[in-house]
Symmetry: C2
Subunit: 208 residues, 2 copies
DNA sequence: CTCCTTCCCTAACAAGTGTTAGGTAGGTTA
DNA sequence: TAACCTACCTAACACTTGTTAGGGAAGGAG
């Protein structure tokens, strides 16, 4: 498990069955993603999971710690994937392709978490508990911006585009896919990545 | 608070002064955009506006009606702009360019409203009061999808891309710009639109 | 002067919020 | 058998939420 610098809050007594934990976290993530974190009541989560509100506190310290666990688990896995991509030491264009593909795979696996991250990370990052969100964002920017800049320097990418704007466009378009992507739908994540890369690399206009 | 030469209205209207109304709506939109609608308390809005919570109810029926007014005002102006673009009767590529440019102009003018729309529209559209959000979304899809399909049929756009996927990418990337765009920043909306169009039409890869 | 409108405040309400202390059925272990 | 642990429920707590009724200061109109 990759570490993002945060201590996992593992309180209570002897830990409850991790299987049930993951189950509850999955439904919580689903509700958080659908309704928003603040709009979601802990009673609603319990209702969806088939138990009563108070019973959730046998498994978790608080509503916030559920959110925390959902987001950090996602980020840990995301960065594990990214680090593997970087370790391959490919050129800028291939790295970008691999990063995009990896991102869509993560959306496929952590769709609710990505949706929550997308909606809430900005104002969560202000809280000390979620400081790792801000740190992750910085690493994220460094990674993608660096890849784009290497590509421009190496002649792979156009030099007449504002790299920072391009970075934002690329980043956002990848992640907002979580808002409409449905696992098991018509498109596999790799196919979505392929189409997206084709569009962003070569454009949608017919070449004359 | 960027606009309007403020008029010290002494108009004897039965309803409260519309100038004050707009002022309060502007700060409400700002807070909604920053914290999310549900996470925003009516006391926080009042605090930001320099009055007490109860006093807001002299101007508005409810917290929800503030949100309603913010969103519908934005959508009215947005569609006025889009209709003007369509009335020009241009070809697919020029229409797409005009639509994108117009969208970034709307982000410039209604940034908080766009950010709120982006975050909340999905689960708001279920409520009957906000049914117009769903309707607007349908019109939106018809408009953009139609433009893309005409472009493919006319040979302006590539035929080997999934039109529906392309539509989603284009749509999302335009609107999420509201999350990082700051009016008065380095980039004018027209410049952002130009860069974005260049990227999406011709791609970021160097042509070989 | 008095009347009236505009705009805000005071002070509370009822409903809903996250959370907790203590209890309990059922299975596992000794 | 008894002791123990897991996973849940019951029933409430303290607090925050959106909202409202009534009052009052300021200022123009008669």
């Amino acid at each position: 498990m990759a570490d993002n610098g945060r201590v996992p809050t593992n309180s209570k007594t002897a830990t409850p069955a991790p299987a049930r934990r993951r189950e509850l976290l999955a439904t919580a993530a689903e509700v958080f993603a659908a309704q928003g974190y603040n709009a979601t009541t802990v009673r609603r989560i319990a209702d969806e999971a088939g138990l009563l509100a108070g019973s959730l506190y046998y498994h978790f310290d608080s509503k916030e710690s559920m959110l925390d666990e959902i987001l950090s688990a996602f980020l840990d896995e995301l960065w594990a994937g990214y680090d593997a991509v970087l370790a391959a030491g490919r050129g800028p264009r291939e790295t970008l392709e691999a990063l995009v593909t990896e991102s869509f795979r993560e959306i496929d696996r952590h769709r609710p978490a990505v949706a929550i991250y997308q909606k809430e990370s900005r104002h969560l990052a202000a809280q000390p508990r979620f400081a790792y969100l801000a740190e992750s964002q910085r690493k994220f920017e460094k990674l993608w911006l660096g890849t784009l800049e290497r590509g421009v320097a190496g002649g792979d990418f156009r030099a007449d585009l504002d790299v920072r704007l391009t970075y934002r466009f690329v980043r956002d378009t990848v992640w907002v896919a979580a808002s409409w992507y449905r696992p098991g739908g018509r498109h596999r994540p790799e196919e979505i990545a392929r189409q997206y890369l084709s569009m962003v690399l070569d454009g949608i206009a017919v070449r004359t």
